[in-house]
């Protein structure tokens, strides 16, 4: 059987490339921020297959389920001397944590979710974690604790994004958009394909590929940031600014005289993380400098990490030339009118677009959004080429 990903899992190739770009960031000596990427798709969409490709024993820590509290344990039934053996954080340091299902965390009640995401947010700063408990007092790890995280989840409800927005989103998302198979394809799959065998072959070749990169760089990679092209850096900065706006939490009424309020994070951290992703992709391709090809994962991840349908609406908006009416939003996204209006209002509040009454000759007046000046670059040819490679 052929040892190439494209022959067996053609539709998972972009996701595998992006996941690989996350894992190899561990080779960069200057990386301090963990990159956490969650693959999003319906069940049986290929998420686990993609994650399993990176099952390189010494480099990966896999778990099917975990609680953020396990990063630094305060278990009362474990002696203090043994608690360090239970802690997850030192075990994933300089490794990639693979979580095959985030649903148990995302499915928790709001209070528990807030607590879990709070811990995850802190750990994803890469500076360790110190927590206080009534049994063992203060415990934790302080210093340089970077790691990478790959996870999988089914589509995420808006409340998760709302809570993450409050804490400062650290998780990036990648939607797999697995294609629907025809009856013939499904029938042939049972007759011809031994999926597990294909998976094992692809795992083996991925393992060899990753091991080869580590063998070639036993002391890590000192990246010459100054040699990266300025136009590429600007594209990354634009994507970071866009994602910061799209991830914002709107909190106001766009029709009042006073400007609507929105909590929009500063794009600095996203900018660093997206740059690291681009560098990871460059390393994967055997380069020591980023090029335009490394911006494709950046653009995809930036738009997929936007909450709810905002990424889809933004894509639709730029495809439509920068203007969309309510009825067009409904049709393009397959959503109801109230949802479309809410989404358009959110765009206006977040500064991604301007909301106006569309000029009509007949029928009911409609709302219209126009791409904001600050994001005009996304309406151009360069973005089109990057978003549709």
């Amino acid at each position: 059987m052929e040892r190439e990903l494209i022959k067996h899992f053609h539709h998972l190739l972009p996701a595998a490339e992006i996941c690989g770009s996350v894992v190899v960031q561990l080779l960069l000596n200057d990386v301090a921020n963990p990159f956490a990427l969650a693959l999003v798709d319906v069940p049986s969409g290929g998420k686990t297959i993609t994650l399993n490709l990176f099952n390189v024993e010494e480099l990966i820590y896999t778990t099917d389920n975990f609680t953020p509290a396990s990063f630094v344990s305060h278990a009362s039934n474990v002696s203090k001397a043994n608690l360090a053996k239970v802690d997850l954080l030192p075990r994933i340091r300089f490794k990639t944590l693979i979580v095959r299902d985030l649903a148990p965390i995302f499915g928790a009640k709001n209070d528990d979710l807030l607590k879990s995401l709070g811990i995850l947010t802190r750990v994803l700063d890469g500076e360790g974690l110190q927590t206080d408990g009534g049994v063992h007092g203060q415990r934790g790890y302080k210093g340089d604790y970077p790691f990478m995280m790959l996870a999988a989840t089914t589509p995420i409800s808006p409340r998760i994004f709302k809570i993450m927005g409050t804490l400062g989103g650290r998780l990036f998302f990648l939607r797999l958009h697995s294609p629907d198979k025809s009856e013939d394809e499904l029938a042939a799959q049972n007759v011809n394909g031994d999926c597990k065998q294909k998976e094992r072959i692809c795992q083996a070749i991925t393992s060899d590929f990753i091991r080869g990169l580590w063998a070639a760089n036993p002391n890590g990679i000192e990246w010459n940031k100054a040699s990266d092209p300025e136009d590429c850096m600007k594209v990354i900065a634009r994507c970071a600014k866009l994602l910061a706006h799209l991830r914002g939490v709107p909190n106001g009424d766009p029709y009042t005289d006073s400007p609507a309020q929105a909590v929009i994070e500063k794009p600095d951290r996203i900018n660093t993380l997206l740059y690291n992703l681009a560098r990871g992709h460059a390393i994967l391709c055997g380069r020591r400098q980023i090029t335009k090809a490394d911006l494709i994962p950046v653009v995809i991840v930036a738009l997929d990490s936007a909450p709810d349908c905002r990424g889809e609406l933004f894509r639709a908006l730029v495809q439509a030339g920068g203007k969309l009416k309510t009825s067009e939003v409904e049709a393009r996204l397959g959503i109801s009118k109230p949802t479309a209006i809410n989404l358009m209002e959110d765009f206006a509040t977040l500064g991604a677009a301007k909301l106006t009454q569309a000029a009509t000759n007949c029928g009911r007046p409609e709302l219209e959004i126009t791409l904001a000046e600050a994001f005009a670059w996304f309406g151009g040819e360069e973005f089109k080429k990057l978003s549709v490679p």
């Binding site: 390189v56 300089f94 007092g137 203060q138 790890y141 604790y145 060899d208 036993p218």
Partner: protein, 55 residues
């Protein structure tokens, strides 16, 4: 005769919980000394990006 009570002596200072019970591991080696690159077994075969991905 009642046994003589032992002198309590000087009062034992209260245990300083903030110091005694802390288990914080500080680990911030200089950047160039970080053991950040894991040691992996060598690959069984050399695979390039193009070979891995396929075309």
């Amino acid at each position: 005769m009642r046994p003589k009570r032992k002198s309590a002596g000087a009062p034992t200072p209260a245990k300083n919980l903030s110091k005694a019970d802390k288990t914080i591991t500080e680990n911030t080696p200089p950047v160039n000394e970080r053991p950040r690159v894991a040691k992996l077994a060598p690959p069984e075969a050399q695979v390039t990006f193009e070979q891995w991905r396929g075309s």
